[in-house]
Structure formats: C-alpha cells, structure tokens
Symmetry: C2
Subunit: 528 residues, 2 copies
C-alpha cells in the first residue's frame, strides 16, 4: 500500500513538479491541489493495496460511517455497518410527506407537507469550500442547486425602542447606508488632513477615490446622499412615469449606529457561510441515499451497539434490536465508531477510564428547527424576497429562512426558527402545536400573510432526537485541548469518526473528512 | 373600460383601505403593491372593456411585441404580429446545438455545442427586481434557477506593473483586506480623537464597535491582521492536521490602494445586478417560447415591414418577404412598432421629419459575446469557482463568466468575453476563428486548462445582427431630453415600444414594461 509519503512536503512536491514541467505545469498542479484547499480535504486518501479478508465494523450509517464503508469497500474490506435508525444518513435527513420522528418524551410526529415540499431539518447547506462533500455529490451525480444563503433584499426586523426598531428594513439598505456614512466620515477626515501622518499624498488620493466608489459619495463634497443600490422609492421603468424612477432616502447615521444594525453583516461573510452555497435538488438526504445505494447492503438497520469489546486480535460488538433483545455479535479487525459522543457515553465499552472521561467531557448543542408549509409564497409575491434569511432579534426564533427551491410555484416550506442552546431547550419543551403557534406569532409580526397562509408544521429538537441527542459536538476550548487529541487517537482497535472529530462541527464535511483520516489510519495499521 | 382612476392617488387609495381595514390591511396592501416596487412595473395594466372588432398590427415578435399581443389578445383585440426572423423572441435567444446566425458581412455560423449545453447570447439575467419579467415567468410557469451573478470566490486578474498584477486574486480577499485596512485607519483615528468634532462620545463607542466587526479588527489594538472570511492558507478540517487550519495573510494596504482593486466592488451591488438573480432552466429563450405558444398563431414569420402608412382611420403596413418580394398588406386600427430604432430608421414611413429625426438620433450599443464549450469544468474542479464572473482588465474581454447550470457535470459553456463599444467593434471585425483564438489566449492567462479544454465556440456581435443592429438603445443625455419624450408619444396611430422606450435599456423588463404602457394608451384611445 502507498499513502502519499509524508516526507515529501507539499512545497517540495511542487518544486519537483516545477523542475520537470515548467511554470505552466506548476500552476496546473497548484490548481489541482486547489491552492488554499488541500487534497486532504477535497478528496479521499489515495490508498493502495487491498483489504481483502479484513473486516471493519462501522457503528453508525451516517455520512462518516458510509463514506468510510464506501472507501474501504473499494479497497476490498468487508465492512459491516450497524445503524440504530431504520434508514441511513444519520442527521442528513429531509422531512417530507410521511417522515416520522419522535423526540424523547415527545409526541409522535408525521410530516404532512404536500408532495414535493420538504424541510432539511438537519444539515441544509453545502458551501463551495466543503470540497469533501462536493467530491461525493460529483462522484455520485447528486444534482445540486443553489441554496440562497445570502440575500441582501431580505428583511432585518428588531423589536425594541430605537428609531429603527419594529419595522422591516432590507439588509441592502443597512449595508449601503452604513458604508456610505462611514466612507463619508473617513473621506472628510482624509480631505481635511486629519490623518496626515498615516498616509502619503498619493495614498490620500487613492483612498479618496476608493471611498467615493465604496460609499457612493458625491465626488465634489464627499457627502453620502443615498445609493441606487439600496433600492428606489419608485423603481425605474418605461416611459416618463416611472421613467428614471425616484431615489430613496438613506437611513440616518446616528440612528444606524444606535441600532447596531451594522452588525448584521461584515466585510465578507464568514468562510463556511459564503456563496456559492449548494443544496441537493429535492432534499439533503439525496446524499445519504446516494451512499446508501452503494453500501446499504452492508447495513443492519434498527440495530444498536449494546457493547464494544476488544482484544489484541480484534473487536466484537454485541448487538441489540430496538426492543433491547439480543441481535447477535459482530466481530472484526477494527471498529470505526461514528456514534455521536452524546450517545456513545452510554454504550457499554471496555474503553479506559481516561477515554471514557474524555468522550463524556464533550457537550452537544441543543438545536431546534421548524418547517412551516405556507399555501402561498407571500415572501416572493408580496415582498420580492427569493430565498435567504430574515434576521430578527426574537428570542427562540433567530432567523426565518425562505426556501431556495420551487421558485414562483404556489406553496413553499419556510424555516420558521433556528434556535440554539438555552432558547432551543426552552422552545423544545413546548408541545408541537405550541411550537408552531410560537413560530407563527413571530412571523406574523413581519409578514402580514404569515398566519393566514399557514398549513402545516414539522419541528425537530435535535437534543431530544434518539441516537443523536444534540445538533453537533459543542467543543469547549478546554475539551479541545484535553479530550480531542485523546479521542482522535481512539483506543486500540476502535477509532472514532464523525463531525465531532473535526474542526467543522455540525457540518457534513467534518464527518466525511474525519472518516477519511481514520480509514487511512486503519489501512496503515492493518498493513504495517 | 376602466383603468385604475388616476384621480385616486396611491396615497389616497392606501388611506381608504386603511380606513376600512385597519393597519394590518394597510400593511398587506402595501405589500401587494410592493412598497418600493409599484404596480406599474410589476403587473400589466388592469384594463377592462374589450377590444373585439379592433385590429392592432404589432411589428416585431420580441418580448415587447408578444407581451402586448398577449395582453391585448386577452381583451379580445385581433393582434397581427410581423416578425422578420423565422422565430419569435427578438434578442431573447439561446444558442444551442443547431442554432444558426449570420452577421452582416460575416460567415454563417451554426452552433455545435453538445446537446443540453447552451449560451444565452442575448439577455442572460433576471434580477429579482424585474418583477415584470417575473410576472410572466410565474404566469407561464417557466421554471427558473439561480444565475450566480455575484461570486466573491471568483478571480480578479489584471495585467500591469504593480505588485498585485499578473496573478489571480479572489475577490473575497480584496473585499476583506480593503475593508479591514480602511476600518483600521478610521478606528484608530476615532480612538485617537482625531474626529472629535464629528462624533459624540456614545457614537464613538458605537462606531468603534461597528468597525471592529466590519473590518475584523483586533478589539485590543484595532489592527487588521486578516480575516478567516478571506480564505485560509490551509482550510480547517478533521483531526489535528489540518485541524483548525492555517490562516492566510492579508494583502498590504499600500499595494491594494495602488492597484485600485478596491473598485471591483462597492458597498452594495448596483440595483439591477443584485441577487437574487434568475435564469430560466435550459435557456433564456424559454420565456420567448412561452409567449410564442400563446400568441404564435398570430405571427407572420420571415416577413418585414416595408412601409408604414396611416390615415385618420387606421394604419396599413406593406409587407415583404426576406427576398424583398411583396407579401401583402396589413391594415389595423393601430400599430405598435417594437422594431429597434436602429432598424426602424430604414423603414419607409410617413412619420414627420421631426419624428424621423428623433428616432435616428438614438445610437445603438455595439456588444459582443462568445460562448466556449469546455470539455471539463476546470473552474469548478481545479479552482472551486461555481458561477459568477472572472474580472479582467484585458481589452476586448472584460469578464469571463462561468455557467450557473449543470453544476459538477462534465462539460460546460462559459462566456469568454462580453465586450462593448469600440472594443466590441474591433473584436467583431475578426473572423469567427480569430474571435475564439482571441478569447482562448486571454483565458489561458488565468486558467492553465483553458485552451486544452476548449471544444467549440459560438460568437455574436449584436451590432452586426440583422433586425437588431445593436445590443440596445444607448441613450445620450441629449437624446433622452429631446428625442425620448417625442418617441414615447408615437405619431398618430403608430406607437413605439421596446427596451428603447424605457429607462431599462437592454433589459427584458424594459421591453415588457414599455409594451404595458403603450397598450394602455392604445386601449384608452380606442375607447375614449
């Protein structure tokens, strides 16, 4: 077997390539490596040799478990997957007509959205920089469409007492006006020689030029008086009326500062939230199903790992069915355990006390989402908002997110809240009906047609979902230092994988890349 | 017949509604009107009465002509459309396998892209604020997808001599770093009390807080040291390596200023370029075809208006076939002429000398585009760029635009240049092969796989396309003042419509909204 030799550093590798092929080839190679995006995060490890005659028990048929099974299977390993749910995918789920869930201590819930409508109540976004996920969507030909994660036309709505509260403001207005006012302030300071020690004469001219463009300032007096990009009072159109349209007035600088609305954006979006953002057409679980078609024959569904034991020769996992009855024992050379730490802590294992302590030290994030089927896409029809998020300061609501699919069709499912931590715990204590009422009351403040358009709800509180018990691993700084390196090593012939074993917690990319790293270790050790 | 009475102003109308229904209804009504986006630009005029027994000759079966025919037809008018081309849609075209064009003085060209690949060589974008276009895509159920018009991950590439030339820089790096450096400069000025007279003590605190967030400054010393949003040197991932990843270093402020790269963006995108941007799935001509299915039976194809004459009673249009042979005469109560002014100037009319002078005073924009079929989507696979535009300072190239459809499939058609004015004229003088070579040489500087991936080209120079003779009306300030109001009035029973009769030149919305205004006039006059 061969793994790209660690001794050949990337820099050396590039140097050698350049020596052979010239700069053109160097550039191509840099491209192939993706520059900033290394091969280790954009493609599975290139493993050679084979795993025939070797068995790997994989606990959990989510994206970590299935990508491990797929790659190891390609090498000839005999992979046995054990999945507690009756379907594969882990948290990679999509709620659509007929989907059932039952939270711990909660009511049974069956989704009754209309045919074709859905909510990705688990992961819902694939940023362009999650090349590991995109590696498989490409390989498996899972059709993608754009997920509109950034929509400046969408509203910000805050309750409160300052002048910009209790009204709908489009994010683009805030951006245009804050940046305009701030550019004006700096431009005038530059013009009035207040920053002389900081800038050369040339730089002053260049900076003024930049600020005029960035802030849409009047070149003559450096004032900000508005920006057609913030929207018009009357849009330009045909003829004389509306003809060139009527410009809109900017929001005042002092009001904007006091409102702190400038915090709804920053210079650039955070890395994982950046466009281009994707979603599989028809629902996120298209990815789970694509994996399942390839490795599903090796999955034992509705089966839990009751105990994990290992010796120097291998691992054995005692299985139970969901009624708690014995369901046989699996033995293998290795075990890749992708069970969330929130659940694994309760499994009977022979891990060392230190290891057990480590895996119990990681807390899991309470997370809640609700999908609301609306009989009319009023956000598109009345407000010209197509996808993206309505930002609010409503506790327990956070953002209201509008669907990025089915443009201009009749109905749509929007995400009525996305809550975390204490707010998620609080909202999840409500009945299903109360949750929907809570979401509707909030949305009604922003969209007059909200409640009257409502047809059906589906809500999930991940911290109460069996076999998940949380949205994702919520690493504290302390646990990252102490527990993380320990857990990454695994114990003996049991290795851990999943989003929790990455710096991309809660992202599918974290699950897949973690699996890639751990199968490389297993392959190395079995062929050492 | 009834048109919404002009005497009932919008404000009054809203007031009356509020008096009846309370604030909730007022808000709903404001929504229905779209607040900033008036009914006049988002829906056709609500005309009542009927046009039975009346004939309207419509010259040109582009979007202006066909939307007029559709709306008038619904009222019972007998609409006779005359179209010089063998198909409907005007400039709303899509080049795909088998599409043929022949520019004046140019070679015949047949598109041989692979099945399923296409280039929108005419209009290619529908911004969310073009509600008139979206009115029909919704009504006719034309499926839309997102057109990625804004992709911060895409490259900017300039040739030149400053330190940031001759290399690929992602736009997100420029945004993050310019805004970071500028925020630092202003924050320090605020901190050091250089702007005391401009700001209250409270505002200073609020502004610093904003700048720290906008520029990703260190809160302790207000320095900009980079921004994870600009991208990493090594992306975060699983395990320890890459684990948290390695941050990237910002570009220097002085280099950025000198490069003027800060001009590739501003606070917010210009209004018509803003997301959410759409395109019909499968090609822009889906809109033309949707209209054609409804009004096509009234279109005489491959027929030109040779002369237009009118009396007090009606209009008669003498037709010719494309060989110049007489093809009959149409008579009607009115004529709506949507022929581009660049072409109309040569038609034999009895317009007054003033009117003729006016329509000849409007120049038309030379515009060129080229589609390049690539056998591999190297921009996605090697560079992780999904849609959007690569900005260059290459004369004759402008932007290279990447397709927003067929994500992760094998092949793709990118737009290799989009040139205007003198550059468009110059490039269009080349042979088809020379144009492709020119585009390939430019793209090769940015993408190492450009030339080797090339399979097939399709180029268009709109100023050389029969029956168009330009991309759009290129209004000078003087012509807007003198000619525009005159042309808008039409002469007698001949009214003009098209993008040229709007403040949205070159946009499909301009064509449609112009038609809406003119049919309202025709309807009023025939029912006065």
């Amino acid at each position: 077997m061969t793994v790209m030799p660690k001794s050949l550093s990337r820099r050396e590798f590039l140097y050698r390539v350049a020596a052979v092929g010239g700069t053109g080839l160097l550039l191509t190679t840099l491209n192939a490596w993706g520059g900033e995006m290394q091969s280790s995060t954009s493609a599975p490890p290139r493993l050679t040799g084979n795993g025939r005659g070797r068995t790997v028990i994989i606990l959990g048929a989510g994206l970590a478990g299935m990508s491990a099974a797929y790659e190891l299977g390609n090498l000839g390993y005999d992979c046995r997957l054990v999945e507690a749910r009756s379907f594969a995918g882990g948290r990679c789920q999509t709620a659509r007509r007929g989907t059932t869930i039952k939270e711990y201590g909660g009511e049974a819930q069956t989704c009754d959205f209309d045919q074709g409508l859905y909510l990705n109540h688990g992961p819902w976004r694939i940023p362009y920089n999650h090349q590991s996920v995109l590696y498989y969507t490409r390989l498996f030909q899972v059709p993608l469409e754009i997920m509109v994660n950034d929509n400046d036309t969408s509203y910000v709505y805050r309750e409160g007492n300052d002048p910009l509260c209790n009204r709908r403001i489009r994010q683009v207005e805030i951006k245009a006006d804050m940046r305009g006012h701030v550019a004006e302030l700096l431009a005038k300071a530059v013009k009035n020689n207040k920053l002389d020690q900081d800038l050369s004469a040339d730089d002053k001219i260049l900076l003024l030029d930049y600020l005029v463009n960035e802030g849409n300032l009047s070149r003559s007096d450096l004032q900000y008086r508005g920006n057609e990009g913030r929207g018009y009072k009357v849009n330009p159109g045909a003829g004389i009326d509306p003809g060139p349209g009527v410009p809109s007035d900017p929001l005042g600088f002092a009001d904007l500062l006091a409102s702190k609305l400038g915090h709804v954006y920053s210079a650039v979006h955070e890395f994982w939230q950046q466009a281009t953002m994707f979603q599989p057409i028809g629902g996120m679980d298209a990815i789970a199903k694509a994996f399942e078609r390839r490795v599903g024959k090796n999955i034992r569904y509705s089966t839990v790992a009751h105990s994990i034991r290992q010796s120097e020769k291998g691992v054995s996992v005692e299985l139970r069915d969901l009624a708690g009855e014995p369901a046989g024992t699996l033995t293998g050379d290795f075990c890749l355990c992708t069970i969330p730490l929130s659940v694994l802590g309760a499994v009977d294992t022979d891990f060392s006390p230190t290891f057990k302590q480590a895996l119990r030290s990681v807390s899991y994030a309470p997370v809640g989402k609700i999908g609301l089927q609306m009989k009319r896409r009023f956000w598109e029809e009345d407000d010209f908002i197509y996808g993206g998020h309505v930002r609010t300061n409503f506790p327990g609501i956070g953002s209201i997110s509008l669907p990025s699919t089915g443009w201009q069709t009749q109905k749509g499912v929007l995400q009525g809240y996305y809550n975390f931590e204490g707010e998620a715990t609080e909202i999840s204590a409500m009945s299903l009906k109360e949750r929907a009422d809570f979401a509707l009351a909030a949305g009604q403040k922003i969209f007059p047609a909200y409640r009257e358009s409502f047809e059906s709800a589906f809500s999930v509180a991940w911290h109460r979902i069996p076999f998940s018990l949380g949205g994702w691993a919520d690493w504290s700084g302390a646990a990252r230092k102490s527990a993380y390196p320990l857990l990454l090593e695994g114990e003996g012939r049991v290795l851990l994988a999943g989003e929790h074993m990455s710096y991309l917690p809660g992202w599918q990319a974290g699950a897949i890349e973690s699996a890639w790293q751990q199968i490389e270790k297993i392959h190395r050790r079995l062929h050492a």
